[in-house]
Symmetry: C2
């Protein structure tokens, strides 16, 4: 078990001061007027013995941990893991690491994660906030911490936001269903009032209203047992025979919904039309393939990262930024209406 080298050791071995070594290692040799000769000597030695500075000590000293905390709803959701991947990849290059946590849409958990991140002295935050976290987030912002939220955001939030146009994405999908001749379009969404969900519902309602069609909203509890969800959707189908299309507010609701359709013997295209908010890789491979509102996942990840890095670097307060990205309706077979 090789004893770990410290700055002191290498300074001792080289008969120079710790400061010089530190300067060189931090690229401040010039600034502090270290001779090129000494710099090279130090660099070479450090390289040779494979010395790696202890980040913890550096962090304690500087107050910068080179770490960012990221809260997603659920890292195993393809939408969030895809974004996490992009963020990780790009922020890593700038020397930052990511600590992440899944909130499961619970404000308690999210708050706990935030506290944890704080204890770990993260330099910045990337958050898919839960409802009720506004105060905590604004507190962070007011303390001067860089914060970027994505996916959802209350207007009260005083930080940078990277969002997609949920309203228009949703509206476009529903209008498309209407165009295709569906006129009893139900929407399956979540009970809890996440802002992005509300927008999606609003888009749905707006589209219906334009054509004077009646809404049918079915709300599912977040994290409800999948079997129960399926059952409750089957009941919906049974009790409201007039429904001729369904619009799902999230990818996982759609997965339960498709299962419910299958178990109910309802055939997509023949009996019912389907569209989903949030495209996942495989929807193209379903049969029929599923029409979906695609969110620009890579773009979201990139924007979030870029903004956070800016805020991390410039300590002279930048105005918080508001990015609203467009969604894209990917029309596939599930929203087609068979000629009767």
């Amino acid at each position: 078990m090789a004893k770990k080298l410290a700055l002191k050791d290498i300074a001792g071995a080289l008969k120079v001061s710790e400061a010089s070594v530190s300067y060189v290692l931090n690229g401040k040799a010039r600034q502090y007027g270290i001779s090129i000769a000494l710099e090279n000597k130090i660099l070479r030695f450090v390289e040779k013995v494979g010395y790696q500075p202890n980040r913890l000590a550096a962090s304690l000293r500087t107050g910068k941990s080179k770490t960012v905390g990221m809260i997603v709803e659920d890292i195993s959701d393809p939408f969030f893991s895809a974004i996490a991947r992009v963020v990780e990849e790009h922020i890593y290059k700038e020397g930052y690491r990511v600590i992440y946590g899944s909130s499961e849409n619970s404000t308690v958990i999210a708050r706990d994660l935030l506290q944890t991140f704080k204890n770990y002295q993260v330099d910045g935050y990337i958050l898919a906030p839960t409802a009720g976290l506004e105060e905590d987030i604004n507190l962070l912002v007011n303390e001067g911490s860089p914060v970027v939220v994505f996916d959802r955001a209350s207007p009260d939030l005083q930080c940078s936001k990277v969002l997609v146009d949920n309203f228009r994405g949703s509206e476009a999908a529903v209008l498309h269903l209407i165009d295709n001749g569906f006129c009893n379009i139900a929407m399956v969404t979540l009970t809890n009032g996440q802002d992005q969900m509300n927008e999606r519902v609003n888009g749905y309602l707006a589209a219906l209203q334009k054509h004077g069609l009646p809404p049918t909203l079915k709300e599912i509890i977040y994290n409800e047992d999948v079997q129960k969800t399926i059952l409750s959707l089957k009941n919906l189908l049974k009790s409201k025979k007039e429904i001729d299309a369904v619009f799902f507010a999230t990818n996982y609701l759609a997965l339960s919904g498709l299962q419910a359709l299958k178990e109910s013997g309802v055939i997509i295209t023949r009996d019912i039309g389907v569209a989903v908010f949030d495209d996942i890789n495989n929807f193209a491979l379903f049969n029929p393939s599923i029409t979906a509102v695609a969110q620009p996942v890579t773009e979201i990840g990139l924007r979030v990262t870029r903004i956070l890095l800016e805020e991390l670097q410039d300590n002279h307060m930048i105005d918080s930024q508001n990015i609203l990205l467009k969604t894209k309706l990917i029309i596939r077979d599930s929203s087609a209406r068979l000629p009767e």
Copy 2:
């Protein structure tokens, strides 16, 4: 920007020593004989002012960071993100946090991540190792760091392992295809020699051999462009018309493969049988639904976490553990053979 409280501050305010506060906060009041009265007083005050210790300083002092480093192949792969989720959830309760990184199957990246984790003084490692990382890992182990690998492992690795029986899982799937009457079964796998992939290939070969059937192996480069993969699979289908079933070594290869089948106008069930190693949620919803070898994702996550926690707690060396979990063949429609 409220100045952050330090131990010193609360000790000062209470006119007690820093040590007493530290003892109480670490639940060592009894051990150091702090009076219950003082303990309560301290606890109450800390609660009231909302003091939160600086973990960095504690880590620097104790050498324990209460953090574990986790390397997956790709956090956006459903297999890895599902495991990450389980690990996160369970290790969090024990007070540990996770820093993660995606290796993209690159030893260089993985090595870099390992180094980073070390600099951050993580207390333990959860790794899906890349080929060529054996030495680095053994070094860690020999230094006394708790390490658990999963998904894949070279026999040289001197640490705990949580694996699935890739050989038998693969063999069972192929035997099932053979049972159903397929006799020209191709396997699509990766070029690079990850141990778990080799096992999957071996299982495939063993099954064929039992029945004297000829193998057709198609290797795809890891991280190959999806379109190229699809193209190359389409070519395979065109050039080897005799193929009547395909077994895919991973979920993402299957996704490309299904696309290739679709684009080639080859209809699953009618023209070809399909099975996949690694089940993903949606395979049940594909049409036809896809037969797959399911890995016990939750179980893997739980075992990994449990073993790591054991190693983290008992510093008296436990023998490294070797867990081999069973896979489960989920028979769905894609492997059925239509009566001619």
